[in-house]
Symmetry: C2
Subunit: 156 residues, 2 copies
């Protein structure tokens, strides 16, 4: 077996994370407030292939966007109790208002929350550049429990 190049390792990590989070519709995004306290909220995940960044639709004027302007660090946690799968994704987050990307990622289901659709001036995307992921799934949980060491994925 030939040694893996860093590029191949990153591609493998992306593919692995993509499989782990597939089908989990809602993730919890944690951000840091000005006083250091940590808040999380459910975010609708996108169906698109994961290529190293995670994307979420948001309103421009929201408390989490204010928090992210001060501190870009986020954690995205994916919990799938039925399959006993838990994933922690650490990354940095920024607001993007790219009309073409918003068009590409838009799905009619989002109209429930953004009734004006793509014409809503408050509509934007949050791009999370993934730096590290850890996961626990049935085999690892069974072996050593939720408080055990995670399996790691690194994105360089």
């Amino acid at each position: 077996m030939r040694p893996q190049t860093p590029e191949q390792a990153t591609r493998d990590a992306i593919e692995h994370l993509s499989t782990l989070i597939h089908g989990i519709k809602v993730a919890m995004m944690t951000t840091v407030d000005a006083d250091g306290s940590l808040h999380s909220r459910p975010m609708w995940t996108q169906d698109h292939d994961f290529d190293g960044d995670l994307w979420f639709f948001t309103r421009v004027r929201s408390h989490k966007v204010e928090e992210l302007e001060e501190d870009h660090h986020v954690n995205i946690s994916f919990a799938d109790p039925a399959r006993e799968r838990y994933v922690s994704v650490s990354g940095r987050c920024q607001l993007e208002k790219d009309p073409r990307r918003m068009r590409d990622m838009w799905s009619p289901a989002l109209e429930a929350w953004f009734p004006q659709g793509l014409d809503d001036p408050e509509l934007a995307l949050l791009r999370v550049s993934v730096q590290r992921a850890e996961y626990w799934d049935t085999p690892t949980l069974g072996a050593s429990g939720p408080d055990s060491s995670a399996s790691n994925l690194t994105f360089s």
Copy 2:
């Protein structure tokens, strides 16, 4: 209707949060690393009545305990996709090695991960003093989606 005293408001918030998280076996605990990055991991919740603090068994020597020594802030997120219920709990966390409390909270199910049980010198509790909680459940999600304003609970 008489105005609520702050004590009664806190008691009501505790009772409400207790109902919201009831039956969710695993929560994700997010902590801040020395470089500012945010990590989360699944934690086994305790069956005991919630009285304003959340408790989790942990090993003393673990990366999250190191993180918590530097920054006490934590977020505990509870996700119940089947019931469309998502809860964010903000608080401060400290390690406690109180043998009586550990005895009170111990359950045989924990032996899978702590085979030495209560005699394990690495066994300890994490106490999260809850400061604020936000939640989204089916009615609020239906009305305005996961990116909407939360219902708030404050613990004073």
